[in-house]
Amino acid sequence: MKTWSELNTLQPIVTKMLTNGIEKERIAHAYLFQGSRGTGKKEASILVAKSFFCPNQTEVEPCHVCRECKRIDSGNHPDLHWVKPDGASIKKEQIAHLQKEFTYTGLESNQKVYIIEHADRMTTNASNQLLKFLEEPSKNTVAILLTENNQSILNTIRSRCQIMSFKPLNPIALQQKLVENGVTEATARLTSYLTNNVSEAIELSHDGWFAKSREIVIKLIEVLHEQKDEAFLFLHNQWLNHFQDREQTQLGLDLLLIWYKDFIYYHIERQEAIIFMNEIDRFEKYTYTLSQKFATKAIKNILEAKSKLMANVNPTLVIEDLVLHLQR
């Protein structure tokens, strides 16, 4: 996501809005980039800075090789200012320092860009300090606030920023990224379905607990269809030991859901949509014992279980109830 065109494949709307603004020289004084981890906020902020300083742009694309671009990448550009949390939070002194910086003329030019990472982690003092500063924008200054947690930004700050929402990545793009990072295709499919954050997905791929979860879910399906009477025993011996709290149970249910969905995809011959790629043999095997209608009902049951879980019903109860339904 180093260039506008790369960013465009992931964040077409934001890219269009930002590049249009740059092209028409209508850049806001302050932007708030919001979106979850790994959605390209920081990359976009660097691109805005480059478009601001790079002298060799083709249309809006900065050259990425000139002195300005290189120094923006290395953090040595004197008129680009980064603020990151110092420990857990961004402190008032950091904003005060920034503010002092902006009472001075630039070192090389009179244009300045400042980027505040994790802007939601500003202390109340720091927020108020920044607010004063946003209230009196100077003409050649662009502020870019980055946050994963839009709710924690003061309303008064938000209202002074142009807000850019970074959409969660689409699963196919994410899957590609994962495979590039050495994750097997089967795992990449699954994890990219469960999260749209690259780093989280990679973490999941290497997580032993997660690998075991997959096994247990498949095993439950096997037991449900081949040794119905053992289902409860299995539940208590294995499932409940593994999926202990509400959050873990939700993940187990998600995996279960994926399996039944896959089964239906297999039935309607949409193999490309199947996530549990290694389960094809089993889908084949169950074609005659498990009807499409039952699978649809199973999906409905699982979704109900999920919402019960969300409504704070005891996880053991929820899963017991679900297994009763799936046994029939």
């Binding site: 002195r67 290395s74 550009h77 004197p78 320092h97 009472t103 001075y104 003329t105 630039g106």
Partner: protein, 381 residues
Amino acid sequence: MKFVIQRNQLMESVQDVMKAISSKTTIPILSGMKLEATTDGVKLTGSDSDISIESFIPTEENGIVFVENIEPGSIILQAKYFPEIVRKLPEQTVEIESDEQFNVTIRSGSAEFNLNGQDPQEYPQLPKLHTENSFELPIDLLKDLIRQTVFAVSTSETRPILTGVNMVLRDEKLHFVATDSHRLASRTIPMSDITSEVTFKNIVIPGKSLNELNKILEDSQDKIEISVTENQILFRTKHLYFLSRLLDGNYPETSRLIPEQSKTNVVIDAKELLHSIDRASLLAKESRNNVVKLMTKDGHTIEISSNSPEVGKVLDEVKVDSIEGEELKISFSAKYMMDALKAINTEKVKILFTGAMRPFIIKPGSEEEEILQLILPVRTY
């Protein structure tokens, strides 16, 4: 890049540019020092982004060779280690060389240091001085201008523009003005010989930068060349080049705030007054705001007093050369008055009052120098 240089000259330059280098910089490359070799000599640069200092060592001066075997080029060296290395080298000559990968070798006699340098392209680009857009002043005079005004800049960031000295070129005069809104110091000098090419009119130089410049400049009758670019002010002496960023914004128009008429005029020996205020302030310092009171007594005396409920009272009478106009009782900060008297530094001073709630002016007894100190009184209840 490669050159061989005299260690003493190098050491001196290193010490000069180190004054601009701060370990607390937020731009990583500024923790380094830039070395640049050209056929004319070697230039060292240090910067904390607010101020930058360049020191130039010519290949030769007065027939003495300082730098030889020059292969032009530049490099950034870690400023943390470089000065100590230079200081401890065994021989008088030093060879410094860098390769494409920014590896630096420093040789002197038996010693050889290999350091990792950094790409000079990463370093900020500092503006060049353009002679046609510059003017000159004797260094001594510039130091006076700074000394007589910079102490009055504001130390609070609430109005950042007041943390600087306003430098204005108007009516063939150069004005320096500083105020923290409680007192104001100004000094004006004629600039009749200035060329029309000089384009700046009104800028604000951070007080901190001027203090730094004043420290670096040694008393001298030599000239210093001054030039103002869009975002920096540049001062150049023979081998030293001092740059400062400017304060962004409009300085308040102060000339109309200075009273033109007065109601009570006092002429007094500056030292006598200074000492008297100093004595009164001994106790006044103990209370919150170091306030002293001045009262006209008769045609020849003023009374300086202070009262700190916890500590006690001081009363001091000072003979004056003359008092004209209305009777007066006024309170003000002892510190501001002492600062002003020290800045003026003439035998006699003239103090022009316009009332107990209005600013008063202190000027030299003779009017040959255009220096003016203004102080806002303190209201007591």
